[in-house]
Amino acid sequence: MGKNVNLAVKLGNIIFKNPILTASGTFGYGLEYQKYMDLNELGGFIVKGLSLSEKQGNKPPRIIETPCGMLNAIGLQNVGVDKFIAEKLPYINNLNTHIIANIYGTKDEEFIEITQRLNKEEIISAIEVNVSCPNVAEGGSLFGKNPDNVFKLTSSIKQNTDKPVIVKLTPNVTDITLIAQAAKDAKADAVSLINTITGMVIDTKTKKPYLDNKTGGLSGAAIYPVGVRMVYEVFENVDIPIIGVGGIYNADVALQYIMAGASLIEIGSANFTQPDISIDIIKGIRRYLADENIESVSNLVGIAHSSG
């Protein structure tokens, strides 16, 4: 139990002290959690999705609970990249953990401009690109559903930054390996998956969709088997580092993602159920490694394939 286990993982040339990140949109700008945990214990955290200018997001209601999960339609409300740099970064720039910026836009040019601004900020370790947002050029269907879009967008972003670029994939596709392959072909440093699964709840009292936006993204424990499957598929078919996310709520599920092929994982909605759940998960993974006499967590990455 007291054994030394190695939780460190490398992505490109960044070393994470452990594979636990917190997911965009569920961890604010980091600050808010300082009261509940020591942020330095995390491998890193990913801030709320940043757009070029401040966004008000969707009208309420924006969230509704579902069995072992929730739907959200925040509509990517955020302070915008400039305010983020000016007003939020100063408060988190002395941490001993990695800060990853999550970004989104409605056309390629927006993504690129945000990237350029973030590129100057040394404190940002990597950029996670949320392609699960409406592509205005394509009439509002998501960037992330079309491999060609993902290839083009990722290539342009890569040309504008030397920071590692992570492409965050939507699960609402027939074959996620095609999108992951497009990201790889465009020289993405990693893919993260999964974003939320589109869902709807109808309020039978009003007979209308409960969310003002009608549909929302399903997240939480309920979806973890879908995320694990998709990570497994991408690991099997595409040679690119994977960050696993979707419904992780304890060390066992985190380990399932790692065994399926994820080098790192992100904790999302589970932060709402327990603000310091990531710390418990780090401890749980450490205990598992010690119990199983495994030296390093990286020995587990994708192990479900070889022993399958």
Binding site: Y36, G57, P60, M70, I74, F272
Partner: protein, 241 residues
């Protein structure tokens, strides 16, 4: 933070009072709330927000059984532990005024009972007005009571009971269904009174990170959990509630 349940009892119709041991770790303001984890597993998935009704050596929450989460909470036994995050939110801003009124609709009296203690602690004068549907639901032991069916106290809505008392020197602290608050707001505007309202909204995190609980205000989207739950009534776009 896991705290021990000292008592969990029915106090009226579908209204329960749960008392929780306070290890003395924190202080709280009236109008603040806790995010309560109903079970130590993933169902229900989200915590539930509840106002603080009393806060000293123990913490009291008074809650109405309305759905799955509150039904489960009602089954918790004395001695069990319950996981709570808080106190959260801004709480009422306590200021003195010629005429202070506490106005509650239904379970909305909950934060006002804590406020009453705070006002008394500062020796501020105030009057209280609470409305319920029927006698069966009445669960306060102070103030003027109205019931819709007249089975207890004044017959009619709490608005009818309180409206003639309101004037321009009045400061109201209110909590209740948004239709009640909205009507109160009209009266306060008309009479040029002040009012702080405690609002409700579905919450996921309760700590300002998910942006799920926002309401539309004159100053843009505001989070009920950490920019509220108490707002100046003039800021609210009542037609959007």
């Amino acid at each position: 933070m896991k705290l021990q349940i000292l008592q969990n009892e029915q106090i009226a119709g579908s209204v329960m009072s749960i008392k929780i041991d306070n290890p003395g770790l924190f202080t709280a303001r009236a109008g603040q709330f806790f995010m309560v984890k109903i079970n130590d597993f993933n169902y229900p998935f989200l915590r539930r927000p509840f106002s603080i009704t009393y806060f000293k050596d123990y913490i009291e929450i008074v809650y109405k059984i309305v759905g799955e989460g509150t039904s489960m909470l009602a089954k918790k036994q004395k001695g069990e532990f319950i996981d709570m995050i808080g106190p959260l939110g801004n709480g009422f801003e306590i200021v003195n005024s010629k005429k202070i009124l506490l106005v509650g609709g239904g379970i909305g009296f909950a934060p006002l009972r804590f406020l009453k203690e705070e006002l008394k602690g500062r020796s501020f004068d105030f009057d209280s007005f609470f409305g319920f549907n029927t006698k069966d639901e009445v669960c306060v032991d102070f103030g003027n009571i109205a019931t819709m069916d007249g089975s207890y106290g004044y017959k009619g809505s709490v608005i009818d009971l309180v409206k003639d008392v309101i004037d321009e020197e009045t400061l109201i602290y209110a909590c209740g269904p948004s239709v009640v608050l909205s009507k109160l707001s009209d009266i306060c505007l008309e009479k040029n009174a002040k009012m702080q309202v405690s609002l409700e909204s579905r919450m996921a995190c309760g700590i300002g990170v998910c942006l799920g609980c926002v309401i539309e205000t004159k100053n843009g989207m505001k989070k009920v959990c950490d920019e509220g739950p108490v707002f100046d009534y003039k800021e609210i776009l009542w037609e959007k509630m």
